[in-house]
């Protein structure tokens, strides 16, 4: 009796702890979403009534729309380039043994740990002083690729280490050329890892600020726009924008896990 009640208490304690944790993570986000529907332009209580005005304002703002398309273009390009580079690099990392492999691996992954500030400044100096090229969205993409590629490499390498190499032998045995082996056997089987890597790169690029700040030309991206607006105080328009971004990320994540689980079911 005593034991079960104590167990019950411990359980309740853990539950409260868990709830607090999630509140800490998501309460600010939900508040922000909540105030994006508030009539008052103060962005704080009291709640003076429901409105979609801020969303209308948002869609009417050319600067926001431009920044959104810029962000999307950068994120898509970054995700494509880093996925291709990361996936190709994952093969020797997972399968070959060569000199300095560990050192190379660490060098490849290091940009995750290096502060964005450092990457940003060094890229700025590199582009402006050494290469003497004009800063643009292209330089932003290059900057993003530097720090998103390691994520792709990590995810795809993990997937490849799980891969049964005999499947490739079997394909070759059945007459598949190396290209066909990759196309029909290897790629379909590692594609969840590749897709996860691409999504990682996409979302990381979408809300990246520091590197963008140093490497961008006259254009703007969503994080840049938000930063410039915040200087004049948080308006509910920013709340509306953040809400849409959040919903978008959730949607992408859900689609990803849904397709992944469907594949998983088909396999068992």
């Amino acid at each position: 009796m005593n034991v079960t009640s104590r167990q019950g208490r411990t359980q309740a304690l853990f539950r409260v702890y868990g709830i607090l944790g999630y509140l800490f993570l998501y309460l600010p986000v939900f508040l922000l979403m909540f105030f994006s529907f508030n009539k008052s332009s103060a962005g704080s209580l009291p709640f003076t009534g429901f409105t979609l005005k801020w969303y209308q304002d948002l869609f009417a703002d050319r600067l926001v729309i431009d920044a959104f398309w810029n962000s999307l273009r950068v994120a898509v390009l970054t995700s494509l380039v880093s996925t291709v580079i990361g996936t190709i690099a994952a093969f020797p990392m997972a399968r070959l043994s060569f000199r300095f492999k560990e050192a190379l691996r660490i060098l490849f992954i290091l940009p995750i740990m290096v502060p964005g500030l450092l990457i940003g400044i060094s890229l700025l100096i590199f582009f402006a002083s050494w290469l003497d090229i004009r800063l643009s969205l292209a330089t932003v993409v290059i900057g993003h690729v530097v720090f998103t590629t390691p994520f792709v490499l990590l995810v795809v390498t993990a997937r490849l280490l799980d891969f049964n190499y005999l499947l490739e032998w079997a394909a070759a045995d059945l007459g598949a050329t190396p290209f066909n082996t990759f196309r029909y056997v290897t790629f379909p089987l590692i594609s969840p890892g590749v897709l996860a890597g691409a999504l990682f790169a996409f979302t990381l690029s979408l809300d990246e600020f520091i590197i963008t700040f140093f490497t961008i030309g006259p254009q703007s991206t969503l994080p840049m726009y938000i930063f410039s607006q915040v200087k004049f105080g948080i308006t509910p328009k920013i709340n509306a924008l953040a809400t849409l971004l959040f919903m978008g990320s959730i949607l992408i994540l859900c689609t990803f896990f849904y397709t992944l689980s469907r594949r998983g079911q088909a396999r068992t």
């Binding site: 005999l166 032998w169 059945l174 396999r267």
Partner: protein, 374 residues
């Protein structure tokens, strides 16, 4: 079509093939000749080089030196997809993201066979492996035995010159294993394709094979039919690996035209054995006798009549009735033990336990012993 290529060639021929992995010698100057339509088994303990040999024939790993011929054609530099050889891998290696039908049809698809023709052939293979109607399932939905059969069909659909099988039954339990052994043999007879089979299970090798190559530490130690290998093992390793054996170490006392006399320390009388290989007086040799060739002699005076010229004494240390025979371990006068298999009740009227501690005489005929030099 298979006949056009001519049976003047061996299906598979290895000439002086060696394979080194760094400093490790996996294969040491191996030569093999596998005939058309043969069920040929590479048998040996793990690490003996049997799977390496198979992988070299399949083209998955390059040779360090030597020549590999398939149907007379030199192939050691060809990649797997240019060899008309197919493989049933250990643990099957079925493509998990494809259905059974897609797995079986993969080979023809890679060779650009028209889709309707592929479907017809897949259907025929599903019949052959007794899994009709399983085409739409995923490999993970099949039992181990069924997966094994799909792997077999996926290889056979290409009508290869040679089929390589790497411990295909290794992951299955005993009952399914026995059943599939029979099926494998039947399918091999039906399709007439040369099978090269790798196993560490000597019983499986004996049941299935036309010929066996016994391998040890990267070398082929003996090649022959199951019966010849069992009855005339080339050395102590083979005798030990295939079936059970008793070994008596001794010195050659006398060499006659067809018989050798060996003195074994601790035995009252020397052992007589047929001279199947050249030995000289004073040489150290081993005499091998199979447990089923040794009999308990209740009354030594009758031994002469039954040609049981070799006799050793000892005390029964263990006895177990195993149905077909009784297995008895005898501690001999020289301190070693001998294993004997006494058929059924045989000479034994009493229960096995009551034999323990009894002094007995064991006998065997001159022709039952084998002279081993190594």
């Amino acid at each position: 079509m298979a006949d056009d290529r001519g049976s003047d060639f061996y299906a598979v021929e290895l000439v002086g093939v060696s394979k080194h992995f760094g400093n490790v010698v996996a294969l040491d100057n191996v030569s093999l000749q596998i005939k058309q339509g043969e069920f040929y088994t590479l048998l040996g303990p793990s690490g003996c080089g049997k799977t390496t040999t198979l992988n070299i024939i399949g083209g998955f790993i390059p040779v360090t030196s030597g020549t590999v011929r398939i149907n007379g054609r030199v192939v050691q530099d060809d990649p797997p997809y240019r060899r008309n050889v197919n493989t049933v891998f250990q643990n099957y290696a079925l493509f998990p993201h494809m259905t059974v039908a897609q797995n079986i049809g993969f080979g023809p698809r890679m060779k650009k066979v028209p889709q309707d023709e592929i479907e017809r052939r897949v259907e025929r293979m599903l019949q052959l492996i007794s899994l009709p109607g399983f085409g739409d399932r995923k490999p993970a939905q099949l039992s181990g035995g069924q997966q094994q059969r799909v792997a077999l069909a996926r290889a056979l659909i290409n009508e290869p010159d040679v089929l390589l099988l790497d411990e295909p039954l290794g992951a299955l339990d005993l009952k399914i294993r026995k059943q599939l052994q029979g099926e494998l043999r039947n399918i091999q007879r039906k399709v007439g394709i040369t099978f090269v089979y790798v196993t560490h299970d000597q019983e499986e090798a004996m049941v299935l094979s036309d010929r066996i190559a016994v391998m040890d530490r990267g070398k082929v130690v003996q090649e022959g039919t199951p019966t010849s290998i069992y009855h005339h093992p080339a050395n102590r390793f083979v005798a030990n690996f295939i079936g059970e054996s008793n070994f008596f170490n001794g010195k050659v006392m006398d060499v006659a035209a067809d018989e050798v006399t060996v003195e074994v320390p601790g035995f009252r009388q020397p052992i007589r054995v047929l001279a199947k290989r050249p030995v000289t007086r004073g040489e150290m040799v081993t005499v091998m006798v199979r447990p089923e060739c040794m009999v308990l002699i209740p009354d030594p005076s009758t031994a002469e009549r039954r040609d049981l010229v070799n006799m050793v004494e000892g005390v029964i240390a263990k006895a177990a009735f195993l149905g077909m025979y009784t297995q008895i371990v005898v501690e001999l006068t020289n301190g070693t033990t001998a294993l004997i298999h006494q058929p059924g009740g045989g000479e034994l009227e009493s229960a096995p336990q009551s034999l323990l501690g009894q002094s007995v005489t064991l006998g065997w005929r001159v022709q039952d012993g084998r002279l081993l030099v190594d």
